[in-house]
Symmetry: C2
Subunit: 221 residues, 2 copies
């Protein structure tokens, strides 16, 4: 019985790794659709979000079933509650990737992002992909150092967002109100993806140590 239980527990953590890989790909494809004005790819990300939602439902239900049948305590209970919260965060990141793709679709055949900001968005996207793609594995490996590293990566994301504001609010901005609004909202979506990864990192720290990271507020999704 206990062995089946531990297999179940490992299996939901493994599914979480698979889900985090899928979100990484969604962020990559949404960004490519955005920067290359690729309508087909945008549509693929948008329709793919249904699959992400299905993974979310299934994984949450499985975790709930383990909670109901096995009545776990201590570290195992912490892990299962963390999985439920992390699954919600990954689902939300998937929605945000779809939001990015929807702006790409809305502006097609134009490019939503003007040339002076494409490199900035490319960097935001790489950072977000890196954070999302790692977070499942960080839980599976109980890697405390890498869990803490996610908060450092988030600072870089904040810097990139500040740069965007300087560009769109600068006196030499030539691309109009609509593009500025697109940039502000898109920047917000990438920033939120990174925030969710940081929250997940804090959850992992709690799972490993039983304590919240010092001086940090409890993460909210």
């Amino acid at each position: 019985m206990r062995e089946i239980y531990h297999n179940d527990l490992d299996s939901v953590v493994n599914e979480l790794v698979v889900m985090s890989d899928s979100i990484q790909i969604a962020v990559r494809d949404a960004t490519r659709a955005l920067l290359e004005a690729d309508l087909q790819l945008a549509e693929r990300v948008i329709s793919g979000d249904t699959r992400v939602d299905a993974m979310h439902d299934q994984l949450e239900q499985r975790t709930f079933t383990i909670l109901a049948r096995q009545s776990p305590v201590a570290g195992e209970l912490r892990t299962l509650v963390a999985v439920i919260q992390m699954v919600a965060a990954l689902g939300r990141m998937g929605d945000l990737a779809a939001h990015i793709a929807k702006i790409a679709r809305l502006r097609f055949p134009d490019h939503a992002i003007p040339e002076p900001l494409t490199e900035n968005f490319r960097r935001m996207s790489r950072l977000a992909q890196d954070m999302v793609g790692n977070v499942g594995r960080i839980l599976a490996e109980r890697n405390l150092e890498e869990a803490k590293h996610l908060a450092e990566q988030d600072e870089e994301m904040d810097d990139l967002r500040s740069q965007q504001f300087r560009v769109i609010l600068g006196s030499d901005w030539q691309h109009g109100v609509e593009t500025a609004v697109d940039v502000a909202l898109l920047g917000r979506y990438y920033e939120r993806i990174a925030d969710h990864a940081v929250s997940m990192g804090r959850r992992i720290i709690y799972v490993i140590t039983g304590d919240l990271p010092e001086g940090e507020n409890w993460p909210t999704t």
Copy 2:
């Protein structure tokens, strides 16, 4: 033992009602600070978010303790997992109210919102306050009808947001890029508060019926 347990369960649900009342007040005050360019009130909302975070941590910890000690099943397990998720959503709504207040503070002594849009934001705020303020009580009363009604209110929120876009992207917009960007981000914050309330409504439907609302995706925070 079972009686203490049921008292504990009622008590976390009551705390959730208290927390939802606090968020309602935060949204009300943040909006007043925004529309009246009231710096002191903006500061109060921003510093008050620490208290909301503390309520979040405490309530989550108490729910976790009940899970660990009482090994609930069925409807009670659904309730406790829903409480953990709803507490996260309320914490997030508190962050969003603080974001609104931060824009009020950033633009002080100017008004962030120009006159043609104040009534729109007033309506968004009233709607958000209504949804947030009700959602705790809807869980406490297991009120299926009102839980479903939250999704209808959300449609009105979406309409208000569409109106905002028509104004800021209209050819007669006179208030510049910065104000348009503020409006777009502020509108997003109110919309997200409403989205969280809808997610909480779906959680409540699940707690009451054991089923997800038909045709709906599982809510993600």
